[in-house]
């Protein structure tokens, strides 16, 4: 690969000639896609090391507010960025979107084929809590679809929600498309029609002003970056 944007660093051997470390904090749902992005980016910029740390969006924001030395923070949902100390922010861009999807166990014991099947009282549904973006979005979807599913639990995050269906404790859960992709064979996806769906946007916030960081963000927003993200189930902004 190679850089698609203009290199702003000094000339050097091979590639762009940039050097330094880019510290990336990313939402846990971005784990696999960012691991790939990091690999590609480092190959293109041999002088640059990308360090990634994954956690829940709230944790990441806490870390930044309390002086963790991060260059970039990529969050799931714009609302997660609200508590962020604005004085630290250099720049905010949207780099990806995600849509809701129903996930069921591979055996699909409850026979869920469409969103309407979730209305059956025999289907045990697990959602995210309505304080987190995926929970809020799921509620909005059900309101639009005018159904009241049998919700047995609301989970604190997507990971916990997905775990319920992986272990077949829930008959169906509502998570993001990218999560269904990431779970591979462990779950099966059931799409939610676009008119009922809600789109979650992923902001990337630049915290450090150095060239390597700017270059990384630019790469994230480039076609190549977008292709990588798409491969992991994320949509374009």
């Amino acid at each position: 690969g190679g850089s698609t944007s203009a290199s702003s660093g000094t000339a050097g051997t091979g590639g762009s000639g940039l050097s330094g470390t880019v510290t990336v904090l990313a939402a846990a749902s971005l784990t696999e896609s960012f691991d790939q992005l990091k690999k590609d980016f480092e190959a293109a910029h041999p002088g640059v090391t990308v360090e990634t740390s994954y956690g829940s969006s709230a944790t990441l924001v806490q870390q930044v507010n309390n002086g963790a030395p991060a260059s970039v923070i990529a969050l799931a949902g714009t609302s997660a960025a609200e508590p962020l100390d604005k004085s630290l922010v250099e720049d905010t861009r949207t780099f990806a979107t995600n849509v809701l999807e129903i996930a069921v166990p591979p055996s699909n014991p409850a026979g869920v084929r469409s969103i309407d099947d979730l209305a059956k009282p025999t289907v045990k549904v697990v959602l995210c809590a309505d304080t987190v973006p995926c929970g809020k979005a799921a509620q909005a979807t059900f309101t639009k679809a005018r159904i009241a599913p049998n919700v047995v639990s609301t989970e604190v995050d997507v990971k916990a929600t997905l775990a319920k269906v992986k272990l077949a404790e829930a008959d169906a859960v509502v998570v993001y498309h990218s999560d269904v992709i990431a779970a591979k064979d462990a779950v099966k996806g059931v799409e939610i029609p676009a008119q009922l769906n809600t789109t979650l946007t992923y902001p990337v916030i630049t915290l450090a002003g150095d060239a390597a960081t700017r270059e990384f963000v630019a790469y994230l927003l480039s076609t190549q970056g977008r292709n990588t993200l798409q491969a992991y189930g994320f949509g374009a902004p």
Binding site: S56, S57, A58, T59, Q62, A80, P83, V126, A129, T131, V132, V152, S153, T154, E155, V156, D157, A160, A163, K164, L167, A168, E169
Partner: protein
């Protein structure tokens, strides 16, 4: 390093310098240890927005979570007492090699990352779990219920209780038991009338440890019991959820959690853990 070689004469008693050196060498590490543990708590208190705490705690989700936390941790404590005490006693009185392995097994829930503990509980009590599969036909389901919260808390807290009480029971004079037995007491009677009354401080200490651990339990609960308000959403789960929305509320709730526990443990102070 005193290099003395004073023939047969013995040196005089200690001088002040040596006493001070001893105090410093011991006092400084102890102070550092205490600071490492206490300063973060102070930081939490300093950072809190005290004027907001009353309104934060008035959030409608707080009361159900508090009630649930207190209920489930009380039940967990009771289970520790009822089930853990006999186990501790069997471990304490046995010299069998198997005992030490049983004791090593007991520490496993401490090592297990709590989330994995939750997965293990799902694999046990879940719909297709090792035991859960036999319950499903009877329409009994454990995950997502308050029972699951109690099971999760018991799983992580019981080892602390058992290890603490076992230690206390090993401290009992075994001759007291011999005497009670010659008087005709069965194991059960001895335990109820003499063994337990005499290790009450140890039991209180173990209960405090177990109760504290259960009160703070998060990972296993969220995985195994889910996060259903009023049914499985305990205080730590609420804190986590609120951290996502408004960290200040989360800190307010945590401070309440601390206050509750220090108060409850403070009431037992001096008695618990001897």
């Amino acid at each position: 390093m005193v290099s003395a070689r004073r023939d047969a004469r013995v040196a005089p008693p200690m001088r002040y310098a040596a006493r001070w050196r001893s105090r410093v060498v011991l006092g400084v590490p102890a102070a550092v240890a205490l600071l490492l543990l206490v300063v973060p708590l102070v930081a939490l208190l300093v950072q809190a927005d005290w004027s907001r705490i009353p309104s934060d705690l008035a959030t409608p989700t707080v009361l159900p979570a508090l009630r649930l936390s207190l209920t489930t941790t009380s039940i967990t404590a009771a289970l520790c007492l009822l089930l853990g005490t006999p186990l501790a006693w069997f471990l304490a009185r046995s010299d069998h090699p198997a005992t030490s392995w049983a004791r090593a097994l007991l520490t496993v829930p401490l090592v297990l990352p709590p989330v994995v503990g939750g997965v293990a509980l799902l694999l046990t009590w879940g719909r297709n779990g090792l035991l859960g599969q036999y319950l499903t036909p009877f329409g009994i389901q454990i995950p997502f219920t308050t029972v699951a919260v109690v099971l999760a808390e018991t799983f992580v807290a019981m080892p602390y209780y058992v290890l603490a009480v076992e230690g206390a029971m090993r401290g009992l004079d075994p001759r007291l038991e011999s005497v009670a037995r010659t008087l005709g007491a069965s194991d059960l009677r001895y335990l109820c009338t003499v063994g337990i009354p005499l290790v009450l401080p140890g039991i209180a200490g173990g209960l405090a440890l177990a109760w504290a651990r259960a009160l703070g339990e998060f990972g296993a609960t969220i995985t195994f019991a889910g996060n259903f308000q009023g049914r499985t959403q305990t205080l730590p789960l609420l804190v986590y959820v609120e951290l996502e929305r408004d960290p200040q509320v989360a800190i307010s709730i945590s401070i309440m959690l601390l206050a509750v526990s220090v108060l409850l443990l403070g009431v037992l102070r001096g008695r618990w853990l001897r």
